[in-house]
């Protein structure tokens, strides 16, 4: 069902011991036995269950709220309203400059609701059922307002305005231009124009929803939050100022997390509401988000329009420039936005050699759930856009899609390659990767298969999706949106210690959600310490009481293999040096004479002179008399910091991420021309993320991201009606792929080590967008003989395909070619 191949472009920087092996995951044993600890598994005596009463309107004034009947219900512990929140907290810090900076966002709706599902009142009761019952007794008097759900309409002068203090619905706008765009268009032999492309709204819908158990300690004024937030540093900088406390008053703890995919970054509004309730009621409060609440309110992926796109193409197929107007729909609040307004520029030209780009970016707010990071955050939209225009150019000008790509891809000899906006693609061989994926899927048999499909009355289509997975953010890019921000660079922390009886304990600052960090960190540590991987204990997850985190700690934006493992390497190398130093003190020799091997610190020339780890751990901890100088503490902390500069704010130029993994996906679809129903009948994916510490884990990420992309391409969409009602508020209506939806899959890997990372690794895991791109491309190919429709949307359910077949003119009129 799945097949795997591996190729290596050059010798990996590390190829010994455990690195590169499919070491079984340390996490698995507890998880297959049902012994993981997820936030919802933790309970406290007398805790209250929280239910958020949510707005049934997409836009309305709150005239009044009456909680008295709810409070009278026996077993109800208390409530929290927006009026209280507005007194007890300050609005959340806004990342945006003006006009988005003027948004006033609180833990609960204050005065007004701006999307269906916005939390209005929190109710706490003895049981979750009672909390829900009681919330129905809360009387909220709404005065409905006009609704805007279409980003294009949100820009119109008479559109309903969500945030009056912003003077309109625009949160951010800026022109991003590099090279000489006008000159390139003047010199072009062809200009291909595409009036409208639309990247649809979905997210990764982790199976575990958001939630937390929150306690307040009246004596210390500190909150403890056992939660599943995947970026506690970000949550803390949002929450602490709102709560008018220092970050030291927020002890955030994470353990096992049931998937996150970026969707668990912006839970700070709910967490603040829980903090207020825990303090107000003097008891622990517990909140587990209902599935419907997640769909209605949490972290939708950015919906984006690309309007009036033009592509400059030379007669030989060289693409020299594009210009477009990107219109991004952020939903009702800016909880991580408008960062999506810069993140896309990490991959501005996609995998191609365009030197002249202009992208006029405008982000608006609409009466829909707030957008926040979703796997492939903001880059997926840009990469879908670049792939779409490559395929439309090929389609309209008659170029071969494979040759057009190979001609325009950044070439291996150009690596490391600086893009027009100063990003540096570190390594890779894109044309070769394309050959690998074509080989996997049997490209040379496509025409034969097309004939066979035609004989069965089906339209066969073949498509390619090329993507980059930029990882390890330079947070200085935020200053390109708001020059006043004081964020830049990146960091991650790990600690390593040798404990009393020789136990090796590595603590991570990262917050894994299934990526196997405990395993891969152990592999790195065991290789450095020359010991068995099984004796390494890795503590993953977050706890502010551990000294193992910095401001950017967390798991997001494809960076663990660089930042997390970089920190582990640094800390364990420090520990190894301490162990060798201690042994050299005992054996009275030079530290250079000592090696760590087979679980001992021993003299290289005399293996009989060996100390077991147990002895090394015991000496400084319990048996340290008589040492003339302090024995090393057997305790190391390392902060990994990638080298970045603050980008040039005027030119919007600079290196925004450290590494670029690459994926090329290809698929074959068969479409029933009568109904528009289609099936992916073959699928292949090739991934290059540099050195793979654990190939099986890497492949698992490729598979998972692929499945999510197939879902987004075919089934998954957060669809709203004109009144702002979400039509897909649960898994009943929002269809995520099931076993029977999955096509056969072939995978392959290439390893082009990153020259910029200590292990040759690159962050990966967010490259699945290739699935969306290749399905779009395959459908367009399939319809070649049936009206030549252009695929203009990222989401193509059967009815949309049927429409393209029945009314190809509707998409044909969106494309035009002007040739010299």
């Amino acid at each position: 069902m799945t097949t795997t191949e591996t190729e290596t472009t050059t010798t990996p920087t590390i190829q010994k011991g455990y690195v590169g092996q499919n070491v079984p995951r340390k996490e698995d044993r507890r998880l297959v036995q049902g012994q993981g600890t997820f936030f919802d598994d933790v309970k406290r005596h007398g805790m209250g269950y929280v239910h958020f009463l949510r707005s049934p309107y997409a836009h309305a004034r709150i005239a009044s709220i009456d909680v008295s009947a709810a409070l009278e219900l026996p077993g109800v512990y208390g409530t929290l309203t927006g009026d209280e929140v507005a007194i007890l907290t300050d609005p959340f810090f806004q990342i945006a400059a003006e006009p988005g900076a003027n948004v006033r966002d609180y833990a609960l709706a204050v005065g007004k609701v701006r999307y269906l599902g916005e939390a209005v009142v929190a109710v706490v009761a003895e049981t979750r059922e009672l909390a829900r019952d009681a919330s129905e007794l809360v009387m909220v008097d709404y005065e409905p307002l006009d609704v805007v759900v279409d980003a294009r309409k949100a820009l119109e002068h008479d559109a309903p305005v969500l945030h009056e203090e912003c003077g309109g619905n625009v949160s951010y706008s800026g022109v991003w231009e590099w090279g000489d765009v006008d000159k390139a268009f003047a010199e072009a032999d062809h200009v291909v124009k595409i009036s409208e492309l639309h990247f649809d709204r979905f997210n990764s819908t982790p199976l575990e929803t958001n939630g937390a158990l929150v306690e307040y300690n009246r004596g210390t004024g500190q909150w403890t939050l056992i939660c599943n937030n995947q970026f506690p540093g970000f949550a803390a900088i949002m929450m602490a100022p709102a709560l008018r406390v220092g970050t030291n008053k927020l002890r955030m703890i994470t353990q096992d997390i049931g998937g996150a995919f970026g969707n668990k970054i912006t839970t700070h509004p709910q967490l603040v509401a829980l903090c207020l309730l825990a303090r107000k009621l003097g008891r622990a409060v517990q909140w587990t988000e209902w599935r419907t609440d997640f769909h209605q309110s949490m972290s939708h992926g950015n919906e984006r329009w690309f309007l009036d796109t033009e592509v400059a193409v030379m007669a030989d197929g060289t693409m020299t420039a594009f210009r477009t107007k990107a219109l991004d729909d952020a939903g009702a609040y800016l909880r991580y936005e408008p960062l999506g307004g810069v993140i896309w520029s990490q991959v501005a030209p996609g995998m191609y050699g365009w030197r002249n780009l202009r992208l006029d970016f405008t982000q608006v707010m609409t009466n829909k759930a707030p957008c926040s990071p979703n796997r492939g955050y903001s880059r997926m939209q840009q990469l879908w856009f670049t792939e779409r225009i490559v395929d439309v150019v090929a389609h309209e000008l008659g170029f071969d899609r494979v040759e057009l790509r190979k001609k325009n891809y950044v070439q291996p000899e150009q690596m490391p390659y600086e893009t027009p906006n100063g990003c540096v693609y570190d390594s890779g061989d894109y044309p070769r990767a394309l050959d690998v994926v074509l080989d996997l899927i049997g490209y040379d048999t496509v025409e034969e298969r097309r004939k066979d499909a035609a004989s069965r009355g089906k339209l066969l289509g073949f498509g390619i999706g090329s993507t980059l997975d930029s990882g390890t953010n330079n947070f200085g890019q935020s200053q390109l949106l708001n020059p006043e921000l004081q964020f830049s660079g990146n960091n991650e922390v790990a600690t390593a210690k040798l404990d009393f009886f020789g136990e090796i304990v590595v603590t991570l600052g990262t917050v894994p959600q299934g990526q196997g960090h405990e395993t891969t960190a152990s592999q790195i540590a065991a290789d450095i310490l020359g010991c068995d991987v099984d004796i390494i204990e890795v503590r993953a997850g977050h706890d502010d009481y551990w000294n193992s985190h910095a401001g950017f700690s967390g798991t997001y934006a494809s960076q663990f293999a660089v930042t997390g493992l970089g920190a582990v390497k640094g800390a364990v190398e420090d520990l190894a040096h301490q162990m060798r130093t201690l042994a050299s003190m005992v054996f009275q020799c030079s530290v250079d004479d000592i090696e760590l091997a087979e679980g001992f610190a021993r003299m290289k020339e005399n293996h009989e002179a060996a100390l077991p780890f147990m002895a090394l751990g015991a000496i400084p901890n319990m048996n340290n008399a008589g040492f003339p100088i302090d024995p090393p503490p057997m305790n190391a902390r390392f902060v990994f910091r990638p080298q970045f500069d603050v980008p040039d704010k005027e030119k919007k130029f600079g290196n925004l991420t450290l590494t670029y993994s690459m994926q090329i996906h290809a698929c074959i679809v068969e479409v029933d021309p009568e109904t528009g129903v289609y099936e992916i009948v073959d699928y292949a994916a090739v991934d290059d993320c540099g050195v793979r510490v654990n190939p099986k884990i890497v492949e698992g990420q490729v598979m998972g991201a692929t499945a999510q992309a197939i879902g987004a391409a075919m089934f998954e969409v957060f669809a709203y009606d004109d009144d702002g009602n979400l039509l897909t508020p649960n898994f009943y209506d929002y269809h995520v792929p099931h076993t029977l939806d999955m096509p056969p899959l072939k995978t392959a890997a290439i390893e082009s080590p990153s020259p910029f990372t200590s292990l040759g690794t690159k962050g990966m895991g967010e490259g699945g967008g290739g699935g969306i791109h290749c399905v779009s491309a395959a459908l367009q190919d399939a319809l070649m003989t049936s009206g030549r429709a252009i695929v203009t949307s990222s989401h193509n359910p059967y009815h949309r395909v049927w429409e393209m077949i029945r009314h190809p003119e509707r998409s044909r009129e969106k494309v035009e070619v002007v040739s010299k």
Binding site: D28, D41, R291, G516, A707, H738
Partner: protein, 160 residues
């Protein structure tokens, strides 16, 4: 209207071989009874609509979604949860999940295992298609299912 009258009822249920007798509200779901009353938190909840299968347990040997069963409906029944699948040692199916990297975050895994175990009880060496059909009621958002299907097929063949 809210404030549904709540009545209590005694249920006697055998869970993983131990018999429990509890007075529970009649509206309590079996999944909440397992998780909250018995502290068997291996059974997870992923949706409100019976769509995701994370809460799958065996009720008298039959896989059911325990969010769609009331605790009182389990009165007199035998329930098996993921905690009852094996003892200290992993079962061949559990081992096969680990060997084939059939789990990432592990949240869907208990439900997957219970659905797969029920399949293997009935059909000890299922085909790939048999496995897909048996697991179609279980959602996984991490793996794309390929490795899960492989793991179950391999467990059936005894090649875990």
């Amino acid at each position: 209207m809210a404030t549904t009258p709540v009545s209590e009822k005694v249920v006697r249920v055998s869970v993983n071989g131990t018999t429990y007798e509890y007075e529970v509200p009649t509206r309590r779901l079996l999944v909440h009874f397992l998780r909250d009353d018995l502290a068997l938190t291996g059974t997870h909840i992923g949706c409100d609509t019976g769509s995701c299968g994370a809460c799958t347990v065996h009720l008298n040997g039959v896989p059911v979604k325990s969010c769609a069963v009331l605790a009182v409906q389990a009165d007199g029944a035998a329930v098996t949860t993921v905690e009852g699948l094996g003892d200290e040692e992993l079962t061949p199916l559990q081992q096969s999940f680990s060997d084939h990297h059939a789990l990432q975050c592990g949240y869907c895994t208990p439900g997957m295992l219970m659905s797969a175990a029920a399949l293997l009880d009935e059909n000890p060496s299922p085909s790939e298609e048999d496995v897909k059909v048996a697991l179609q009621g279980n959602i996984c958002r991490c793996t794309g299912y390929w490795n899960i299907v492989e793991a179950v097929v391999a467990a059936g063949k005894g090649v875990a």
